[in-house]
Assembly symmetry: C2
Homo-oligomer: 271 residues x 2
């Protein structure tokens, strides 16, 4: 299998249109309950910028707003380089589908050229045995995209319920795939919903908005070529049908890849 | 002094234009080194949505990208309600100035109607003496907006330098003003730059992008009418001329108001 044949690469494959925009197609293998896995949606927006001829540097920040459910089928990505400076570039993005007058996804991204200088990571990879020491988690949720991620919780049963939503896990693609920027974006949305962790059972949830700050540059990522990431995730508050999720993501060899936060809609009528 | 005469209200005052957009004017009193204080810019974008006749519910999330420096003078805010669902509404925003073909600020926001249901806050206000027990911090930075905030660090001298960028502080407006959603947005950008905390001195920095998740609804905020907020802030990583800042913000009576993340450009040539 070549990299180009990996199901993740197929899921985020884009064709450049004459308009300068990109067209893509949803993937059955990264399907969630009623729309694509949000991580693939974040990844494909990032991929569009990475493929764009005017792109400057590497991803620094990404915000993706899930405004409406993407249906199975083709979609188009509209990209605008809103402003390009000497070292930063600001993008505005939308995902649209035929017959929908309004965008289904909106977003912004900042790309930047990093330069040599003072470097320090305060938020270090926790000391923990490697992924081979833990078992792959099999979710009771019967949605296709979960088969595409090898998630290994290192601390406890994520469905145990309790007063603390924190979890820690190893994450890898199935089959294995070197972690690149689109993979980092997707990994940021692979954590088991914090509501499930607290309640010990599943309930209807939907990510409304997701933001990611990237802490590694492309050259360092290429040099490391990690296959496994380690993630810590927690919620700060559940309130009025919405809760948040914060997470940190490191490569197995200790580089902080990204920090991320999202807001999630949830339904708790039966709780 | 009435609420309408507070300098913060004047700084975020907007006039509705016939086009459906809004026009505003930068404030000398909230000026930073070369452009307006970023917190006022975030606040005025939120204020535009709050004033919009099609607005649904309360702020849930806000992302503001600082693409270019706003000059002193008038500006216009272009708002698009990209999609409105039953309980969430997605906005796209830009700030423009005459003679500038490109936007100076881009952003997105999600507003939502919260509904009664399961509520729990995991991230609690730390136990700490009230703001009256601490002295107001006087920054060596000679920029006007700092006079508009009463910041009281509770743990140590924020310019001490060291290996940990974490700080905790009380925050209030000068003169006092009840905390509303625009104030929360502005407070999220009042923390002393994490680079200064680590290095124990000032250096050129500029926020590139700022995201905020709101954890309180408008009715609860109105009921509490807090005058003081408590903030915790830290950086995760400094790398290649960019670093991040995370923060949490509570009302003095213990409600989690917001969590926020930003990426900051910095120059370290002389470090």
């Amino acid at each position: 299998m070549t990299a180009a044949e990996h199901p993740f690469d197929l899921a985020i494959a884009l064709a450049a249109e004459e308009s300068g925009q990109f067209s893509g197609h949803t993937s059955e293998r990264y399907w969630n309950a009623i729309s694509p896995f949000g991580g693939t949606t974040a990844a494909v927006l990032l991929q569009a910028i990475l493929l764009h001829p005017r792109r400057l540097g590497d991803p620094l920040a990404l915000t993706v707003n899930f405004a409406g459910p993407i249906r199975a089928g083709g979609f188009s990505i509209r990209l605008v380089a809103a402003r390009t400076g000497r070292s930063t570039q600001h993008w505005q993005m939308e995902i649209r589908q035929p017959g929908e007058p309004e965008p289904l996804v909106t977003g912004t991204a900042v790309f930047a050229v990093r330069r040599p200088g003072w470097t320090d990571t305060e938020t270090r990879l926790p000391e923990t045995p490697g992924p081979e020491k833990f078992s792959r988690y099999i979710s009771p949720a019967n949605v296709p995209f979960l088969a595409r991620y090898d998630i290994r919780y290192v601390d406890y049963d994520p469905f145990a319920g309790g007063a603390d939503s924190s979890t820690q896990c190893w994450i890898a693609d199935v089959p294995p795939r070197k972690i690149d920027f689109p993979a980092i974006a997707a990994y940021c949305d692979t954590f088991i919903p914090r509501l499930f962790v607290r309640k010990g059972k599943m309930a209807p949830i939907s990510t409304v908005t997701l933001s990611i700050n990237f802490h590694i540059d492309g050259a360092a990522l290429e040099r490391r070529q990690p296959l496994h990431a380690f993630g810590q995730s927690k919620a700060n508050a559940f309130n009025g049908g919405y809760y948040d999720q914060e997470a940190r993501l490191w490569s197995a060899d200790g580089a902080l890849l990204a920090t991320t936060h999202q807001m999630v809609w949830f339904k708790d009528a039966d709780m």
